[in-house]
Amino acid sequence: MAERLPKLAVHKFASCDGCQLTLLDCEDELLAVAGAIQIANFAEASREIIEGPYDLTLVEGSVSTPHDLERIKEIREESKVLIAIGACATAGGIQALRNARDVEEFTRYVYATPDYIDTLAESTPISDHVKVDLELRGCPISKAQLLETVVAFLNGRNPILPTYSVCMECKRRGNPCVMIAQGVPCLGPVTQAGCGAICPAYNRGCYGCFGPMESPNTTALGDQWMEMGVDSRTVSDAFHFFNNYADAFRKAGDMYADR
């Protein structure tokens, strides 16, 4: 008898499906991954649901309904290792822009029959509700980081994930600094690496998909943007984007909104 393969579960909360799609986008590796780990509960890919407990669970999306509040607890109970993947799961996602706003008004604006809408006032990350063993940042996550994480799990080691800024990736890639060379506002100096510095490579400023780096100096950067002629509302919006509810970006966005 072959050794039992570890069991993988993939769950979706409020999200766009892009982060779980990243797994199916590993075209060169997918069949190898499926040979090393049993895809036991992954509705986007398979009808078959093999009962838990699961050795590794990936959770995409933010918690935003009363039902999901219960569901995440059940998922945690049946998971040995739980990894939150992507900006929705790690920071509440773009939909967290509704936090601290009037959700009832939002509901009336979007839906003709608001009574049917069952929603929480806030869209929150998975770690606000259950213990999360690891977070993969990004909107979307990086394919390379996902594979590194799965391989590390299978080998019983910690994955190697950077906590430094996008600036390091720009230097490595040989990108000229878009702020200095082109006068383009960029969130790279305060954003965690992982994307490969793609925006600066395409002559645009980083817009913060991977959320705040460890100890970001958001004020120094925001003030620099304003010196470049960006108004405070636009600085605030930049922080209040796909990782708007991540602590450092939320505070920075709030501060510039009040200027």
Partner: protein, 433 residues
């Protein structure tokens, strides 16, 4: 008990192999269908609400996040709408590059859906991974083909999911001719692979069902529709996209507790591959038409199950079109059309892999969004999906419950439904079961 009297209930709480959280509920009493619902319980994310006040330039990046499977569709429809507000047109090579990016998304999304999410239904496998045990070569081929689509998006726009290079007015950076040429070798291979995919999908056991759809899609005088055109239908609609909301509307159907799109005064309609194919057949490339013909398709197709073949045919088209664009490409001097910010209303519609995606925005003189309205394809198809369920139950009423259930799931997957997209316009009721 498959036939006779009594009540049969078939409930699928969480539909597999679709994008997003959907369910199916069927109730048959004494051989008559009482309920046939395609339900939505995806949590609402309120895009239209929180976009108000944001800069119009952010719309392509924000709306891309509505759907990780078809972000390019959102980027294109929103960019076109904003360009209409600003009074500019993106033409020439900048426009060709947009079509190229869209070809990448079509290849990736169509192959993912047809071969990996839908085909397992026809052959009785739970998933593509299960299918790979017996059809390893086919699965390897389609994974490689899917990757060619992703490679186009990664090269042209930085990454395949939520690409970063498209903007209102064009691009942040355009590729050199030499960069695009690096795609050619794989695309030439992909052409053969896509032709093989057509043959393979045509060899699948095919349920017979003909539905009297009103087919709706974009139509362009010179091109198979991708980024723009007029809205046309198989039953006489022919309008500018600015008239979209005059002709199509959402109604509240009590039977499903959901807002469903209808043609005003008529009812259900169908967007997506069958509509594009049947209304634009003559604009396919000769090889795409040849592939369709050898697969046994006529110039129109009204069998929803055959959408899997049509997706493969459109993949052939997308590969041909990508090669044509690269062959004629000359790097433009400017990556984007410049414009002065204006206030106004703009409309954009483009053909997402699963059907027409319409956007409408009102923008203020400060360049910030005042009002946003998005009509995604799956919301527009919801009524047709439910009408198909009725027909499939009628034709398969003698099947045991588990087989009927699977057949019904397959018929929902005919639509490549994207429920993450659809939640903007559908009421939801969270089933606390």
């Amino acid at each position: 008990m498959p036939t006779g009297n009594g009540v049969r209930s078939i409930n699928v709480d969480y539909l597999a192999r679709v994008e997003g959280e959907g369910s199916m509920k069927v109730k048959i009493r004494d051989g008559e269908v009482e309920i046939a619902e395609f339900g939505i319980f995806e949590p609402p994310r309120f895009y239209e609400a929180f976009m108000r006040g944001r800069l119009h330039t952010e719309a392509p990046d924000i709306t891309a996040r509505i759907c990780g499977i078809c972000p390019v569709a959102y980027q294109m429809s929103s960019s076109h709408a904003m360009e209409q507000v600003m009074g500019i047109t993106v033409g020439g090579q900048l426009r060709e590059l947009r079509r190229l990016l869209y070809c990448g998304e079509w290849i990736e999304s169509h192959v993912l859906h047809a071969a990996m999410l839908h085909a397992p239904d026809f052959l009785g496998y739970e998933s593509a991974i299960h299918m790979a045990a017996d059809h390893r070569e086919t699965v390897e081929l389609v994974l490689k083909l899917k990757k060619v689509g992703n490679d186009i998006m990664a090269l042209l726009a930085g990454r395949e999911i939520h690409p970063i290079n498209a903007r209102v007015g064009g691009w942040y950076k355009v590729p050199t001719e030499a960069q695009l040429q690096t795609l050619v070798e794989d695309l030439v291979w992909a052409k053969d692979a896509a032709m093989a995919l057509v043959s393979w999908t045509a060899s699948l056991p095919m349920p017979q069902l003909e539905q009297d759809y009103e087919l709706v899609c974009l139509s362009h005088p010179d091109e198979y529709p991708l980024t723009e055109g007029r809205m046309v239908s198989s039953k006489g609609i022919d309008i500018d996209i600015s008239e979209y909301l005059d002709v199509f509307q959402e109604i509240h159907a009590e039977r499903s507790n959901a807002l469903q799109s209808v043609i005003k005064g008529k009812g259900a309609y169908l967007v997506g591959p069958l509509a594009r194919y049947s209304l634009n057949y003559e604009k396919l490339t000769p090889d795409a038409r040849k592939a369709a013909e050898s697969a046994g398709l006529g110039a129109t197709c009204f069998n929803p199950f055959q959408s899997i073949i049509v997706r493969a045919v459109e993949t052939v088209y997308a590969v041909d079109e990508a090669l044509r664009i690269i062959d004629g490409y000359e790097m433009p001097d400017e990556p984007a059309v410049r414009y002065e910010v204006k206030a106004g209303v703009g409309h954009g519609a483009s053909e997402a892999p699963r059907g027409t995606l319409y956007h409408r925005y009102e923008v203020g003189s400060d360049g910030r969004i005042i009002d946003a309205h998005i009509m995604p394809p799956t919301a527009q198809n919801q009524l047709s999906i439910e009408e198909d369920l009725l027909a499939v139950i009628r034709d398969n009423i003698d099947l045991p419950d588990d087989q009927l259930q699977w057949k019904l799931e397959q018929s929902i997957r005919n639509y490549d439904p994207c429920i993450s997209c659809a939640t903007h316009f559908l009421d939801l009721k969270v089933d606390r079961g």
